[in-house]
């Protein structure tokens, strides 16, 4: 247990520093949200209608940024070898790595999500739900993204490959989260979409580490 806590601390610290860490992701997120009004037009009514969905899609893209490095560095510098040679199952190691990724990148992005949605013209009441959706969705993005990152180990331009593998898997959480936010903004029942988002995140946490560990073993051999 203390091993896993130490690993979580290390992974979070490394993810925080990796390629600028959360600042880059949040900066990218802010950039995309500022771009939208420039491209679509700045009429508040039109923007407010798409605000929740747009903020949500931008979040999914921003959480892709740091995924590339999740396993790549450890694979190149031999840390993955050392993590492997331990009584701790590789599946558990992968789970902790993704949690670290989520703490360092998903959580800061979740803090930025309500700001982005409201600045695009969403009602302030949407703020808490946007935060909750982003937090839960971030978990799904980290664990599903980890699969893509592990699968593209050893490939040249692995980051691009990760994005191509992962984007289709991001579709369900984007639909569920976007649906919940849209329903809330329209005054409709929103819990269904939110629950499905949670279910998808839990599924990703359950299945993701097994797939990641298998992909890592394959890359090491």
């Amino acid at each position: 247990m203390s091993r896993l806590l130490a690993l979580l601390g290390r992974e979070t610290a490394l993810a925080w520093g990796r390629g600028g860490g959360p600042l880059v992701a949040v900066g990218f997120y802010a950039g995309v949200t500022t771009f939208l009004p420039l491209a679509i037009g700045s009429e508040p009514a039109r923007l407010a209608a798409i605000a929740p969905g747009a903020a949500w899609v931008a979040l999914a893209l921003a959480s892709l940024l740091s995924l590339e490095r999740l396993f790549e560095r450890d694979y190149e510098d031999g840390a993955l070898d050392q993590l492997f040679l331990s009584p701790v199952p590789l599946e558990l190691t992968c789970l902790v790595k993704c949690l670290g990724q989520w703490l360092a990148n998903g959580a800061p992005l979740a803090l930025a999500a309500p700001v982005a949605a409201i600045s695009l013209g969403a009602k302030p009441e949407l703020g808490p739900l946007a935060f909750a959706c982003a937090l839960l969705g971030g978990l799904a993005f980290a664990f599903v993204g980890g699969i893509g990152a592990a699968l593209s180990l050893g490939a040249r331009r692995g980051g691009l490959l990760t994005a191509v593998i992962v984007l289709p898997l991001f579709v369900p959480p984007v639909i569920f989260g976007g649906g919940a936010l849209d329903a809330f903004a329209g005054g409709l029942p929103w819990t269904g979409g939110f629950a499905l988002l949670g279910a998808y995140a839990l599924g990703a946490i359950a299945v993701g580490p097994i797939a990641m560990a298998a992909a890592c073993r394959n890359a090491l051999s």
């Binding site: 290390r10 490394l14 031999g78």
Partner: protein, 214 residues
């Protein structure tokens, strides 16, 4: 049934007392690196693995560690099952040392010691033996190749495991540290340890030879 034997001092989990390679062959990228390689190493013995560049020395080490699959043959660890042996019975130290350039030597030593099952006290003792104390506050990127290798080797001492797989252990070290590491290897063997080392220059300890053909 798993049996555990204790030798000399107390090691970590899965005490390896024997390493046996039976007619092993490894294929990498479609090319057969070697075949029919056998070895029997007992507690207290070291093996110097030699061969020209590209003959498969590193691949053989990685096969023993469980990373590379064998094309043929088998690797056994005496009474210890392979999974247990690899999950805490052996160390591998090579060029890719897993140390993060942006973290301090102290942080890395503490983490890897804990991860491999050592204690704070054992980490301190290892740092003292390898004269790392003054380097500990530095970021890993500030260390020279030899200093960095010593930091990686601190794992070997901080978390005792019976089998050491070493890839070119001496190459970045200066004359004094080659000598000193020879002493550490001797101590490890005296305590019932095993060493399989890929080398170009002879090791400063008595070894069994295993030469891979070109």
């Amino acid at each position: 049934m798993r049996r555990r034997t204790r030798v000399g001092k107390s090691w970590g989990d899965g005490v390896i007392t024997q390493l046996v390679l039976e007619d092993t062959a490894i294929r990498r990228g479609g090319r057969l690196l070697f075949e029919g390689v056998s070895l029997e190493l007992r507690a207290g013995q070291a093996c110097a693995l030699t061969g020209p560049n590209g003959s498969g020395k590193t691949s053989l080490l990685r096969a023993v560690a469980g990373f590379v699959r064998l094309e043929a043959g088998a690797i056994r660890f005496g009474a210890v099952e392979a999974e247990e042996a690899r999950g805490g019975g052996l160390h591998i130290v090579g060029h890719a040392d897993g140390l993060k350039p942006a973290r301090t030597a102290a942080e890395e030593l503490a983490f890897w010691t804990g991860w491999c099952g050592g204690t704070e006290a054992s980490a301190r003792a290892a740092a003292e033996t390898l004269e790392l104390q003054t380097l500990l506050p530095l970021e890993v990127r500030r260390l020279s190749a030899g200093q960095r290798r010593r930091l990686a080797m601190a794992r070997l001492l901080a978390a005792p495991r019976a089998l050491w797989l070493l890839d070119e252990p001496l190459s970045p070290l200066d004359a004094r540290w080659r000598e000193a590491f020879g002493g550490l290897m001797r101590r490890h063997l005296d305590g019932g340890g095993l060493i399989l080392a890929a080398v170009h220059d002879p090791l400063p300890i008595p070894t069994v030879g295993l030469d891979l053909p070109a």
